[in-house]
Structure formats: structure tokens, C-alpha cells
């Protein structure tokens, strides 16, 4: 091939290489853009996952608080049930005691004070005074009867005190039940509140999870879209490599031609400069250098002349 043909071929190859490089640049730009998009999608997905985790911890906290309170409610209810059972038992006892007390009062036919006073008086007469036997026998029976009745009256009194004490206990327990019922109401309200908060968080978590999944899908889809450009890049690089390899010998040949031409020109110039030096003895520095390189002249020759 001649120089013109070589030049034409080299230009065509260079043009093609440039075109391929431009393509490559565009692809890199596209990849860069996609990389930014992927980064944004990944960050958003990770942010949503992090939020989901945070919500999960909070929801767990509310759930645990609710469960603890429910346990307390269960225990308090149990205590209240026991109290109610106890009240019923004591109330039954009170009812039976009242019956017994009333029977004893009916049987004693008098108050403790009156009976004791009468008994002491009769006993004093019986044991201290000298009275006929028939009166003694009568008083003896009377004293025993009064004593029995007094015992009955004392027993009725004791039972009455027990009834009063039991009533007091029942009242205390009733008050305790009222207080417990109020406590249960409050605890249940709070437990319910915790439960609602947990549910609200679970709803939010569901939404966040759904959104995170959407972003994840977009991310995976985008990754798939990125692979063709990468394949293209390799193909273009291969093509550039091939063109470069094709261009190399052409460039070498052109360079050789150019170098030969330049050498010839310099040699011609040197001859001209030599002739000029012979005639005028004045040449330019450039011509002088050229002469030194290509004209077969040394500095010693110049000094001599």
C-alpha cells in the first residue's frame, strides 16, 4: 500500500476507535446513572428495614408490658374471688350465729347483768343464811337455773361480739373488693392501651415491610437491567483492542515513511547548507544543527574554516 492508502486506512481505523470510545463513554455514563439509582433504592430499602426492626422492638415492648399487666390482673382477680368466697362463708356464719344468739337470748330470759345480780343475791342467801331445808331446796334449784341461764346469756354475748367482729371483717373485705375492682378496671384499661399500641405498630410494620419489599424488587430488577451494558462494555473494549492492533502496523509504516522523508529532506538541507557555508560562510543555527547531524561535518571542521 502507498502512503495515501496507508493514511486513509489509519484515519478510518482511528475514526472507528474514536466512535467506539464514544459508545463506551455513553455506556459508562448510563452505568453511572444506574448506579446512583441503585444506591438510592438500596438506601431506601435499608432505611425501611431498619424502621421495621425499630417498630418490631417497640411492639415487643408493648406486648410484654400488656402480658405482664394481664398476669397481674389474673392474680388480682384470683385474690378478689377468694375474698368473695370468704365473705360468703362469714356471712353464712353470721346468719347461723344470729339464730343461735337469738335462741340463747330467748332461753336465758334476761340480760347478763340482771341474771348475775339475781344469782349473786340468791347464792348469798343460800350459802350464808340459816334457812329451812325446803327453802334451801327451792333456792338450790333456782341458783342452778339462774347459773345455767347466766351461762347461756354469756354465751349469747360472746356470740354477739363475734357477730359484730365478723360484720366488721366483712365490711373491711367489701371495701377491699371495691378497691380491688377499681384497680382491676385501671389495670385492664392500661393493658388494653398497650395492646392497641402494639396492634397499631404491627399495622405500621406491615406497611413498612410491604414498601421495603417493593424497593427490594425494584433493586433486583435494576441489577438485572445493568448486566447488558456490562456485556456491551467488554464487547466494545474487545473491538477497540482489535482495531488498535490493526492500526499499529499501519501507523508504524506511516511513521517509517515519514521518517525516511524527513531524513531525505534534512540531508538535502544539509547539502544546501554546506554549499551555502562554502559560499557565504553564514547559515542559521537550525541549518547548522542539521548540517552537524546529516551533513557529514564536525565542529572541528568548522573551527578550521
Amino acid at each position: 500500500m502507498n502512503e495515501q492508502e496507508l493514511k486513509k486506512k489509519a484515519n478510518a481505523l482511528r475514526h472507528e476507535i474514536s466512535s467506539q470510545n464514544k459508545k463506551l463513554k455513553l455506556i459508562y455514563q448510563e452505568l453511572g446513572r444506574r448506579s446512583s439509582e441503585l444506591k438510592a433504592l438500596r438506601e431506601r430499602r435499608d432505611e425501611l428495614n431498619s424502621r421495621h426492626k425499630e417498630l418490631s422492638v417497640k411492639a415487643k415492648g408493648f406486648r410484654e408490658k400488656r402480658d405482664k399487666l394481664n398476669q397481674v390482673v389474673k392474680e388480682v382477680r384470683g385474690s378478689r374471688k377468694e375474698l368473695i368466697k370468704k365473705i360468703r362463708s362469714i356471712t353464712t356464719d353470721i346468719s347461723e350465729s344470729k339464730k343461735l344468739r337469738d335462741e340463747l337470748n330467748k332461753s336465758s330470759k334476761g340480760t347478763e347483768e340482771l341474771l348475775e345480780s339475781a344469782l349473786n343475791e340468791k347464792l348469798s342467801v343460800l350459802l350464808e343464811e340459816d334457812i329451812p331445808l325446803k327453802d334451801e331446796k327451792r333456792l338450790y334449784e333456782l341458783v342452778l337455773n339462774l347459773s345455767e341461764r347466766l351461762g347461756t346469756a354469756k354465751k349469747a354475748s360472746q356470740i354477739h361480739e363475734k357477730i359484730v367482729s365478723d360484720f366488721s371483717d366483712v365490711k373491711s373485705m367489701d371495701d377491699k373488693i371495691d378497691s380491688t375492682s377499681n384497680q382491676l378496671k385501671d389495670l385492664s384499661l392500661i393493658a388494653d392501651e398497650y395492646h392497641k399500641r402494639a396492634l397499631a405498630l404491627y399495622d405500621e410494620m406491615k406497611k413498612v415491610r410491604s414498601e421495603a419489599n417493593e424497593y427490594h424488587k425494584k433493586l433486583t430488577d435494576k441489577y438485572k437491567d445493568s448486566s447488558p451494558p456490562r456485556e456491551q462494555i467488554q464487547s466494545i473494549k474487545d473491538e477497540i483492542q482489535k482495531l488498535s492492533e490493526e492500526l499499529a502496523p499501519v501507523s508504524e509504516a506511516l511513521e517509517k515513511l515519514r521518517s525516511e522523508r524527513e531524513d531525505k529532506r534534512r540531508k538535502e538541507k544539509a547539502v544546501e547548507a554546506k554549499e551555502k557555508l562554502k559560499s557565504t560562510k553564514r547559515i542559521s543555527l537550525r541549518d547548522f544543527r542539521n548540517l552537524l547531524e546529516h551533513g557529514g561535518v564536525s565542529l572541528s571542521d568548522v573551527d578550521d574554516s
Binding site: 331445808l133 334451801e136 341458783v143 347459773s147 347466766l150
Partner: protein, 115 residues
Amino acid sequence: MNVSEIKPEELRKKLVAKHKNLLKESKKQLKDFRRVTVLEEKVDQLSHWVAEQDEPDKKLVESRGKAADELAEIRSRLTDHSPKRVTELEEKIRGHEEALKFWTDDERAGTQEKG
């Protein structure tokens, strides 16, 4: 004794103790009364013998003195000196003995309780 829980046997024991005490007292009083009668007679007799003698026997006088002192002492203890008191005391003694018999008789006391 717990007045609200008086047991029949407990009450009977106290009645027995009461009557024993009263019986002892009545017997002592009756003994005193009888002793008064004896001493009055003794003092009277000794006084008669002392009056008969021109020079009273020392022993007789002394004996009369002792009897008179004892009589005075017993009389000071007795509240009622009347003769009917003896009858009363004898009746009392009989009454107390009867009561004692009654209250110490377990069989009868048991019947009394059941009755």
C-alpha cells in the same frame, strides 16, 4: 366459784360445808347453855356451903370463884339467855343434821337433779 358455771355437786359441797359450820356453832351454843345451867347450880351450891361456914374453906371459895368466872364468860358469849333458846338450838341442830343428810346423800341428790 364461777357463777355462770355452777355445778350441782359443787353447790352441794358448799351447802354441806355451811351446815357443818352451823351445826358446829349450834352445838357449841347448846353446850354453853348446858354448861351455864350446871355452873349456876354449882355456884349456888358452893355459895350455900360458904355461907353456912363461919370461916369459909379456902378451897370452896376458890372453887366458887372459878365457877362464877366461867359462868360470866359463857354468859358474855351467849346473846340470848332465854330457856326457849335451848329448844331453838336443839331444833336447829336437828334441822342441820337433816340438811346434812340430805345434801350428802348422793343417791337422793342425783334423783333431785334428775327430778
